[in-house]
Amino acid sequence: MTLLKPAMGRAIGWAALGALVVLALFGLWGAPPDAVQGDAQRLMYLHVPAAWVAYLAFGVTAAASGLWLWPRTRSMVWDRIAGASAELGVVFTALTLVLGSLWGRPVWGVWWAWDARLVTTAVLLFLYLGYLALRRVPAAPEARAKRCAIAALVAFVDVPIVHFSVTWWRTLHQDATVFDPALKAHIHGVMAFTLWFGVLAFTLVYVSLLDRRYRLAALEEDLDARELEQAIAERVAGAGTPAPRDREEVGVV
């Protein structure tokens, strides 16, 4: 009932923890302060990796949803992966917005601006909150998986809009930090290393949490199915014995 073998899952969990510690050392002390933004720029080492993982998580949700909808690959495994990854995407999108707000206050002078990147990211968060709410609407597993898969593919349309918003519109948010549209790097040395290491660390955290969330989803589905079977068995067993009220009515007749 796990995505990864238990030993592999544990190894990735420990690697993620170790990578976060190394990231903290480089992000808070190893990397130099930015020439313009000073120490406030150290939030980039969390903000960018969190945004990357949000894209990754929603991409995995879309891919798994597509695989569920495709009749040849249809399996509840894909539905579980889609749900687990969407939940992680929501966590990391919320984190991206909070970290961006904390970074924006000292650099822009405001916590929030009605900027294309910020607004489209907030829309992304609400779209996937809606997706998670849809997953909780009671229905047969197949029917729920189908409508959620369609909703996930529709919601994913916002991901490229978020990413290219800084290119398509004039925004307060800065342009791409790592690569511009011509794939020219804008960050170098220890700062570039720390940023890439942050992306790696957050990706490991995502894989580790996805593995755990998938296992929880599988366990809970198993329990729900068993409870349903038990309730049906009790109802069927009870149908053979008249209820007290029925017995009285039989006596009257």
Binding site: G38, D39, L95, R105, L219, L223
Partner: protein
């Protein structure tokens, strides 16, 4: 608040969110495993 204050707040919130979510997963999984064993 100084720049360092925003940085410390950001790193603390990130740590708290990741740790909190991981603990929530561990607790829910243990509960589900216990119920699975009881059934």
């Amino acid at each position: 608040m100084s720049d360092v204050g925003y940085v410390v707040a950001g790193w603390s919130i990130t740590g708290a969110v990741l740790l909190g979510y991981w603990l929530w997963l561990v607790r829910r999984t243990r509960r589900a495993e216990r119920l699975d064993g009881d059934a």
